[in-house]
C-alpha cells in the first residue's frame, strides 16, 4: 500500500460478501479500508485492499484498540448475522451480535471521537409491503428477529443523530447479488440460502434441483418477486454515503435497489440463458414470512447522492456464474 494519505475507514464485516466489495470500492476511490471481522462468516482471502484486524464487534476493548491504532474517519458497519430462519430459532444470537454488537461499536466510536457511521440495514425492516415499490417512508414492521434487530439499530442511530451523538446513513438493501467483475470475491455463504447461488448450484449439478417456495403468489407468474441489485452498485452506494457524511451531510436513510422486480421463474429463465444450462425445478410450499413481492423505490438515493444502478440482471448473473464456477471449479459441460 503506497497511499499513505488515503483516509482510513473501518469496515466491520469487511471479509463478508457485501463488506469485501465495499472495501474494494473504497480502495478504488481513495480510502484505506481497515477490515475488522471475526471470520465467523467472512473469508480471510476476501481481505485484499487494506489491513485486516481480526476481532469481534462484541469485544469493546478490541474495537477500541483498533480505532486507536488507525484513527478512521468513519465506520461502515456490516458485521451481523443475516439468516432469517436462524433468527427465529435463536433470536438471542441476533440481538447479541446485531444489536449488542452495534451498541458496542457505537460506544467505542463515541469514545474515539468518531461521529460518522454508515449502517448496513435491510428491506426486512419494512415487513409486509403495504405498497410497491416501497419508499423510505413505508411503515417499518419487521416479521422476524433479524428484521427487528436491524430496525433497533436504525432506531438507536436516529436517536443518536437527534442528540448529536452520531451522524449516520442507513442503507436498506433489497436483494444483493452478483460478484466483482475482477472475479476475486463473491457470494459464499454457509449454509447458502440465497436464490441465485442455489440456482447456479442446480444448473451446475451441485444440487439435485432448485425449490420454488410458493407458486401461488399474486404476482405475474405466481412466484415471489424480488429486486436484485448488483453488489458492486451496492458497494458504490456505501462510498457515496460515506462521502455524504464526510462532506457534512445530515443523517439519512436510503433504499438500495433498482426499482425493478424479477420473479423466481424469470430469474431461473435468465440463469438458464446466461449459463446455457437447464435448471431442474421443484415446487414447494410458501415459507412463513416470505412476502409476495419486495421492490425498492430508489429515487431518494438517486436524487440526493447521485447513485445509479449500472449493472442489470444479465450482468448480475454473468458475474455470479463466473464467480460460482471459479469457487466450485465448475468446468464446461461435457
Amino acid at each position: 500500500m503506497t497511499g499513505t494519505t488515503m483516509p482510513p475507514v473501518l469496515v466491520t464485516g469487511g471479509a463478508g460478501y457485501i463488506g469485501s466489495h465495499t472495501a474494494m470500492r473504497l480502495a478504488e476511490t481513495g480510502f484505506q479500508p481497515i477490515v475488522f471481522d471475526n471470520l465467523s462468516n467472512g473469508h480471510r482471502d476476501f481481505v485484499r485492499w487494506g489491513p485486516f484486524e481480526e476481532g469481534d464487534i462484541r469485544d469493546g476493548d478490541r474495537v477500541r484498540a483498533v480505532l486507536e491504532q488507525y484513527r478512521p474517519c468513519a465506520i461502515i458497519h456490516f458485521a451481523a448475522l443475516i439468516e432469517v430462519g436462524e433468527s427465529v430459532r435463536f433470536p438471542e444470537r441476533f440481538y447479541e451480535v446485531n444489536v449488542g454488537g452495534a451498541a458496542t461499536v457505537l460506544a467505542a466510536a463515541r469514545r474515539a471521537g468518531i461521529d460518522k457511521f454508515v449502517f448496513s440495514s435491510t428491506c426486512a425492516t419494512y415487513g409486509t409491503p403495504q405498497r410497491l415499490p416501497m419508499d423510505e417512508s413505508h411503515v417499518q414492521a419487521p416479521l422476524n428477529p433479524y428484521g427487528h434487530s436491524k430496525l433497533m439499530v436504525e432506531t438507536m442511530l436516529r436517536d443518536m443523530a437527534g442528540a448529536d451523538e452520531m451522524r449516520s446513513v442507513l442503507l436498506r438493501y433489497f436483494n444483493a447479488a452478483g460478484a466483482s467483475a475482477a472475479g476475486l470475491i463473491g457470494e459464499d455463504h454457509e449454509p447458502e440460502t440465497h436464490a441465485i447461488p442455489l440456482i447456479l448450484d442446480a444448473v451446475a449439478g451441485r444440487r439435485p434441483g432448485f425449490a420454488i417456495f410458493g407458486s401461488d403468489y399474486p404476482t405475474r407468474d405466481g412466484t415471489a418477486e424480488r429486486d436484485y441489485v448488483h453488489v458492486e452498485d451496492l458497494a458504490e452506494a456505501h462510498v457515496l454515503a460515506l462521502r455524504h457524511l464526510l462532506g457534512g451531510g445530515a443523517s439519512r436513510s436510503y433504499n438500495v435497489g433498482t426499482g425493478r422486480g424479477t420473479t423466481v421463474r424469470e430469474l431461473i429463465a435468465a440463469v438458464e440463458a446466461v449459463t446455457g444450462r437447464a435448471c431442474p425445478v421443484r415446487l414447494a410450499e410458501r415459507r412463513d414470512g416470505d412476502a409476495a413481492a419486495l421492490v425498492a423505490e430508489p429515487a431518494r438515493l438517486m436524487a440526493e447522492l447521485g447513485w445509479r444502478p449500472t449493472r442489470d440482471l444479465h450482468a448480475i448473473l454473468g458475474s455470479a456464474w463466473k464467480w460460482h464456477r471459479s469457487l466450485h471449479a465448475i468446468g464446461e459441460p461435457a
Binding site: E92, Y95, P145, M152, M156
Partner: protein, 354 residues
C-alpha cells in the same frame, strides 16, 4: 411485623434493580408471599439499605454473565424480575446511546443468561412510554407502540427481544407496562429515594416538606378538564403485588405469556394531584405555570381490563390521597436522614395518617 417463614424449598426469584424504587417494593411483596429473593443491583441509583433484610443482596451488574449464571445455579433461580434500568426520559433524549446500552443491550445479556441458566419465567418492567402519544385513551395493550423518546424505545426493544426469546425457548415472559408509579410502602420500609426526581407526586411531596420551593405545572392548555396533564397514578405497593400475581400466573400457565397494563384506569390532573398534596400535608404548594414539555401527551390512562381479568389482582390502595399520604410519609422519613432506618434495626411501622 409478621413475616411468613420462608422455606428453603420456596421458589427463588432474582430481582434486578431490587435496591431501587419499584424493585425494593417488589422484594417486600415477594418475601411476604413466601418466595426466596436474591437481589442484584449495581447501586447506580439504588440503595443497599432499601433491600429487605430477608433477601440476599448481591452488588453487581446484570450484564455480568458469569455472575448472573452463577447466581441462577447457586440459588436455583426459577424466575427473574427485571427492574434494573435507566428511567429519566429527558436524559434519554440527550444521551440515547447510554439508554440503549444500559436498558437494551444489558437486558439482552441478562435474557441470554436466563436462557443459558434454564430460568423458566421472566417478568419485565416496561412502561406506558412504549405507546408514545396514544390515539385513544384509556390505552389498551393492543394499541400501536410508537415511542417518542429513546427511553420508550429502549424498553420496547427489550419487550421485542423477550417475545422472540419466549417463542424460541422454554421460558415464558410477563411484560408489565407501568403507568405513573407513585407512593411508598405503607409500613415505611422503602420508598422513592433517588435524588433529582422528575415525577410529579415525588416532586410535590418534596415541595410539601420544604425540599423545593415550588412545583412547575408544564402546560395548562391541554384538552383536559382543567387544562393540565392527566395521568394514571398507581400505588407502588399495588404494582409490586401485581408482579407477584403475574409470577404466579406464569408459573401456573407455562405456555402463556403476559402483556399487561398496570394502572387503575382512572386519571388525575396535575392540579388535582397538587390539591391532594395540599390537603394531605395541610400546606399550600406554590404552583408555577410553565410551557408544555415536548412529547408530553395530554392524557395517559390505562385500560386495565386485561390485568383485572387475567390476574388474581385487585388494587388495595386505589385512592389519590392514600398514594400521596404514603409518598409524603416516606419523604418525611428521608428528610430525617438517609438511610431513613438502619437496615439492621426494624423500623417502626409507620401508618399514614389521613
Amino acid at each position: 411485623m409478621f413475616h411468613k417463614a420462608i422455606s428453603p424449598q420456596a421458589p427463588a426469584v432474582l430481582v434486578t434493580g431490587g435496591a431501587g424504587y419499584i424493585g425494593s417494593h417488589a422484594v417486600l411483596a415477594l418475601l411476604e408471599s413466601g418466595y426466596r429473593v436474591v437481589v442484584l443491583d449495581n447501586l447506580a441509583t439504588g440503595f443497599a439499605w432499601a433491600v429487605a433484610e430477608d433477601a440476599v443482596f448481591v452488588e453487581g451488574d446484570i450484564a455480568d454473565r458469569d455472575l448472573v449464571t452463577g447466581l441462577i445455579a447457586e440459588h436455583g433461580i426459577v424466575a427473574i424480575m427485571h427492574f434494573a434500568g435507566s428511567v429519566v426520559v429527558p436524559d434519554s433524549v440527550v444521551r440515547p446511546l447510554a439508554y440503549y446500552d444500559n436498558n437494551t443491550a444489558k437486558s439482552r445479556t441478562l435474557i441470554e443468561s436466563a436462557v443459558a441458566g434454564g430460568v423458566s419465567h421472566f417478568i419485565f418492567s416496561s412502561t406506558a412510554a412504549t405507546y408514545g402519544i396514544p390515539a385513544r385513551v384509556p390505552v389498551r395493550e393492543t394499541a400501536p407502540t410508537r415511542p417518542i423518546n429513546p427511553y420508550g424505545w429502549s424498553k420496547l426493544m427489550t419487550e421485542q427481544m423477550l417475545a422472540d426469546t419466549a417463542a424460541a425457548h422454554p421460558l415464558n415472559v410477563g411484560i408489565l407496562r407501568y403507568f405513573n408509579v407513585a407512593g411508598a410502602d405503607p409500613l415505611g420500609r422503602t420508598g422513592q429515594s433517588t435524588a433529582g426526581a422528575t415525577h410529579l407526586i415525588k416532586v410535590a411531596v418534596e415541595a410539601a416538606t420544604g425540599k423545593r420551593d415550588h412545583v412547575a405545572i408544564y402546560g395548562t392548555d391541554f384538552v383536559t378538564p382543567d387544562g393540565t396533564g392527566v395521568r394514571d397514578y398507581i400505588h407502588v405497593s399495588d404494582l409490586a403485588a401485581a408482579h407477584v400475581r403475574a409470577l404466579e400466573r406464569l408459573i401456573a400457565e407455562p405456555a402463556e405469556n403476559l402483556l399487561l397494563n398496570c394502572g387503575y384506569g382512572r386519571g388525575y390532573s396535575v392540579r388535582e394531584v397538587l390539591d391532594s398534596v395540599d390537603r394531605v400535608a395541610n400546606c399550600r404548594i406554590e404552583r408555577r405555570l410553565a410551557q408544555r414539555r415536548a412529547g408530553d401527551p395530554p392524557a395517559l390512562v390505562a385500560n386495565n381490563r386485561r390485568i383485572l381479568a387475567t390476574l388474581d389482582w385487585r388494587p388495595d390502595r386505589d385512592d389519590l390521597d392514600t398514594i400521596v399520604a404514603d409518598a409524603l410519609a416516606w419523604e418525611r422519613r428521608l428528610a430525617e436522614g438517609t438511610p431513613p432506618a438502619a437496615r439492621a434495626s426494624s423500623p417502626e411501622p409507620q401508618v399514614s395518617s389521613r
